[in-house]
Amino acid sequence: MSGTGVPSSWQSVLPYLSESLPSDRSPENPGSSGVQLNLPLELVRQSVQEREHWPIPEEVAQAYGRYRPTPLWRARNFEDAIGSRVPVYVKYEGGNISGSHKLNTALAQAYYYKKAGVRELVTGTGAGQWGTALAAACALFGLGCRVFMVESSLRRKPYRGVLMRMLGAEVLSSPSGLTRVSADHDSGRGNSLSLAIGEAVEYANTHEGTAFCIGSGETYSILHQSIIGIEAREQLAGLDGHVDAVVGAVGAGSNFGGIALPFHCSAASANTRPPMLVGAESTTAPKLTRGVFAYDKTDATGTGPLEAMYTIGSDYPIPDAHSAGLRFHGAAKVISAMRHRGDIEAMAVSQTEALEAGRQLTVSETVLAAPESGHALAAAAKLATRGSDGLRAERGVLVCVSGHGYLDLAAYEQFLNGELEDEAPAEHALMAAVSGLTPAGAPTLLPPRQTVGGPA
């Protein structure tokens, strides 16, 4: 820790994986006129080298110091509201300009890209939290910023777009019609976030001085998010708090990885039993609970490498839902590999369950959680009460509230009015979406469900 209470290093889980990550696979369409590198080498090193501690650059540490350490508290009123048997600790990441944890990696990435000589960053965003975070980071480091935002999200949350523009970013509704991938897009196919990302990839590939960057899923972004779990470990120790379950929401996995993986590292380092690490995903995109472990695309262009991931198929049309940040077909490769090895548990949570958990947190703790975070809260509530999916906490639960919900009040309004319905993928639709994928490993052999994890 630095003198400010902000960790001085990120912590990588790579040295503590029981197996190395499966190698990425090149897409079928290699370039024909030379090769290009669009990722700073330091981010590549952070993704592949089995080095545990990575010093946080001074400029990034200073930026972190504006909003970190983020609060962690025992949510006694929430415990009462849900009838909890065990203590529930909340780590809150919504208290910065972007309103979510995404700023933790946006700042780091903007710093490294700026150092590499890039002038503009371009990205795709679902709920808009990542787009806002990147816009803020670019503003801080003097970079241009262009954001392709999923059209349905931008329509629902126009003020996300306004905030990004206030931060100097150019915001485009996706499908934009400006890129080949959007022109080729069949509106009945594919998922909207992967299309927005695909548009950003294509834009970056065709504009000099511009680089594409991504907010979740990459191993380096999960490394940057480790600051959440490192802080939480220290804060829990300061409260003499003990938990046997750590919960975060999973879109691609950076928030979950950020809160949970440092606990895996510390347990592995001390050769003790880790707490249950539980990823809370949306029933609309249930890659960890109903997906397959296979090589799949990370975006709609298919020009990037194929990664070994738990996926419901990159072409699967994910039903519309308010938690746009969770509407992604695949989990990060490091999260997927750990799930495949049985180091990570998962629960699928419906939209109405998530918003009800968010309502309970609002009324009990006066903290308004984003719908994505509501999934983690609902899973934490299940673990802390009757248990679910064979999982139950016996000592305590740590849950990360990844962001605030002030720009999601339309979702809560619909929920309070009883206007929301849940939609989960049909089995035959999932099977069709993954039928052409190459398996990434031996058939999944998840361990028997446990009812208790080890102490943190």
């Binding site: 030379g34 290009q36 590198l37 590549v44 080298q49 590499a116 680089a211």
Partner: protein
């Protein structure tokens, strides 16, 4: 070019050729390709993904740390392009 520079270039060129051959999964020696060999051609078949891992292996082989501003956004066509930029990065140490 001085003798020292020639030696340095030879060392770097050999290391670069060794890793591009390995990346292209070829069973040939470094003397069988020239610095004008296309990185994406009949023999070498590099892509961006391979380039990333390759640069880290070159760092290991030559015990150098390559600077990001030498690579990002730049396109590499032949072996010599890589040798030049690695040399430039090494000289900057």
């Amino acid at each position: 070019m001085s003798t020292t520079e020639q030696l340095d270039r030879a060392t770097v060129a050999e290391a670069v050729k060794r890793v591009v051959i390995a990346e292209s999964k070829l069973s040939i020696t470094v003397s069988e390709i020239t610095e004008q060999e296309p990185l994406v051609g009949d023999r070498l078949r590099l892509n961006s993904l391979g380039l990333l891992g390759m640069l880290l292996r070159i760092e290991d082989e030559l015990s150098v740390v390559l600077s990001d501003d030498l690579f990002v956004g730049r396109k590499f066509h032949v072996v010599a392009d890589l040798v030049d930029v690695v040399l430039k990065g090494s000289e900057a140490r």
